[in-house]
Symmetry: C2
Subunit: 347 residues, 2 copies
DNA sequence: CTGAAAGCGCTTACAG
DNA sequence: CTGAAAGCGCTTACAG
């Protein structure tokens, strides 16, 4: 009876059911609120029979601890902030999915903040927003920002999907190594040199892929033409692909991502060039490359492993920070590249 | 001096800087904490000069209100829970990006929860988790669950990306209408009937696309072959495409999404069938369809509009709920389909 | 226009 | 093993 009143009409007038609190559970189970807390947190020794009474009461009342109160009092949070930019791109989306899954497995929730652009300003603002109330931060989408302009939160566990920032923990993919693999494969196929269709010059990942391509050509003693700069989009690949299709000297193309490669393939088809006989093509990312026409050779990125590595690294930082109050300065993981050969580069 | 002590060493021994609180700001500005609160919330009348002193102090201390304390005390939250499943699919990822952007514009943060599978059990569990501490819920990814097995939170503002659940607010795409458009276009092109490669039979969206396809054929008095059931993946499209390529009676194919269509195109190429002369193909979603070969005609889904509509609808519900304590039973938006014609279906 | 008091729901010492 | 007291940082009435 009294319980009904207590539970039902505390914030009067609204007419909708209140969520049960630890106090409600305590009343129903005949214990004190902190015994409820102990059971909820699986703590200490609570007499089995007491625990069961509490668990029963929780179930009957549909009790779930109020996360705001918990993190306010405990001074720690079980939320990981995830900063991204342009998260609908397939690569980012795959990383995000893996981050969610791994975070869940470690008992963390995800607060997602998408920066309106890749500029350092927007990313800084988004990081400031995302750091509120979280135990740590996973930061994607830094590739187009000037490192010097970025302001990272201090005293907050943090991990970055970018292999440049060696003073911060990061998980990254060996971009240059992937490019070297691609070029080596095209040279092995008989090409005298390899033309590159790059991502935007402002993108570090694009620059790293260009670097790998150039290194591979130079170490093989081949000519290194100027790269053609696109913007990652299929449309830009299409436009640059038309230039290549018109140039009968080009017999091998390394494209910095699969989306641009799809545009390149279309341009080559429309110009009547046979792939791979006239022009061999290798892409990067290995996203749906298998079902382009012809099936596209590509550098496979293990996005799932990146997402997993990001969360594992961050959780280590969080625990270290909680235990010792320190953050290890650097803890970088680099994921090895893998070439998948398909019909676009081999007869 | 005293300020330093207050600010610096409250939780002693850890050695890392504490975040500034309203009390710290108040002390520095020479006002009370709730004047700080008023400024932080842009409330009431605060004397301009007082406001400026407070703003200065906030800036100097890098003050940001503690979200946990705020939502605990205020009894409301500025977080929207976003429940998804398999969020790396391009369609979902695009909706999620639009949800993030729109939510941000309304002053809400996003808590992202990804269900491990599309089963009703997993979705129910994920909704229970996601509802903690949020003002409302956006639910994607319901398409494979039995509606009857789903348990939606009560008394919580909610919006669903699914057009079936007419008793709950929803924003959806006119799947059947899109399918009718596709079939009508293929019949206009001279096909006597249209073969369909469907998504999984367990998916409602797939079923709705099948329904539209069947209706369009029947109302035109054409034969309605059995649909071929895939699983949305390019690989399944490839496998079913091989069956179609072997059947010389098939001259028009409607594929329930673009990813399967990419597999169909590959199978037709490999069998030496000319597209669209021998077989015309139309896909669904319009995701990178433009740069398949040949460029793929497709039903365009405006994912951005869906994400935007979901958040707008939810925010209305949240405000109504806060003001009046009620939730409007139903508020459904259906987004109209659009056909984009490309070379895969027209000479 | 500004402030002193109380309390949101929980957990952290401290008793017993 | 269990409980009474205090407080995390903020905001909501209530005074003045």
């Amino acid at each position: 009876m009294t319980e009904h009143q207590t539970t039902g009409s505390r914030r009067g007038g609204k007419g909708w059911a209140q969520r049960a609190t630890a106090k409600d559970v305590a009343a129903l189970a005949g214990v004190s609120p902190q015994t409820v807390s102990r059971v909820a947190n699986d703590l200490d020794n609570v007499l089995p029979q007491t625990r069961n009474r509490v668990l029963d009461a929780m179930k009957r009342l549909g009790y779930a601890p109020n996360a705001a109160a918990r993190s306010l009092r405990a001074g720690r949070s079980t939320t990981i902030g995830l900063v991204a930019h342009h998260l609908s791109r397939t690569g980012e989306a795959n990383i995000i999915e893996a981050v969610c899954t791994t975070a869940r497995a470690h008992g963390y929730d995800i607060a997602l903040a998408n920066a309106p652009s890749g500029s350092a300003d927007d990313l800084n603002r988004t990081m400031v927003r995302a750091r509120q109330g979280v135990a740590g931060l996973v930061v994607l989408g830094l590739e187009t920002a000037e490192v010097g302009d970025l302001r990272f939160p201090v005293n907050l566990p943090l991990v970055i999907a970018d292999s440049r920032l060696l003073s911060l923990p990061s998980v990254g993919f060996d971009q240059a190594g992937g490019a070297r693999l691609a070029v080596g494969h095209l040279l092995d196929g008989g090409a005298r040199t390899v033309t590159m269709i790059a991502g935007p010059a402002t993108s570090i990942q694009s620059q790293q892929r260009v670097t790998g391509w150039r290194e591979a050509l130079q170490s093989a003693g081949r000519a290194t033409p100027e790269p053609l700069w696109g913007d990652w989009s299929p449309a830009s690949g299409y436009r640059l692909g038309q230039m290549i299709a018109d140039d009968s000297h080009v017999h091998a193309v390394f494209v910095a991502n699969d989306e641009m490669a799809s545009g390149v393939l279309r341009a080559l088809h429309e110009a009547g060039r046979n792939i791979p006989r006239d022009v061999a093509v290798v892409g990067f990312d290995d996203i749906s490359a298998e079902y382009l026409w012809p099936p596209l050779s590509s550098i496979h990125q293990d996005f799932r492993a990146i997402g997993h590595g990001l969360v594992s690294t961050l959780v280590e930082q969080i625990e270290q920070h909680a235990d010792a109050g320190v953050l290890s300065p650097s803890r970088s993981t680099v994921i090895a590249p893998k070439l998948v050969v398909r019909a676009s580069s081999t007869a």
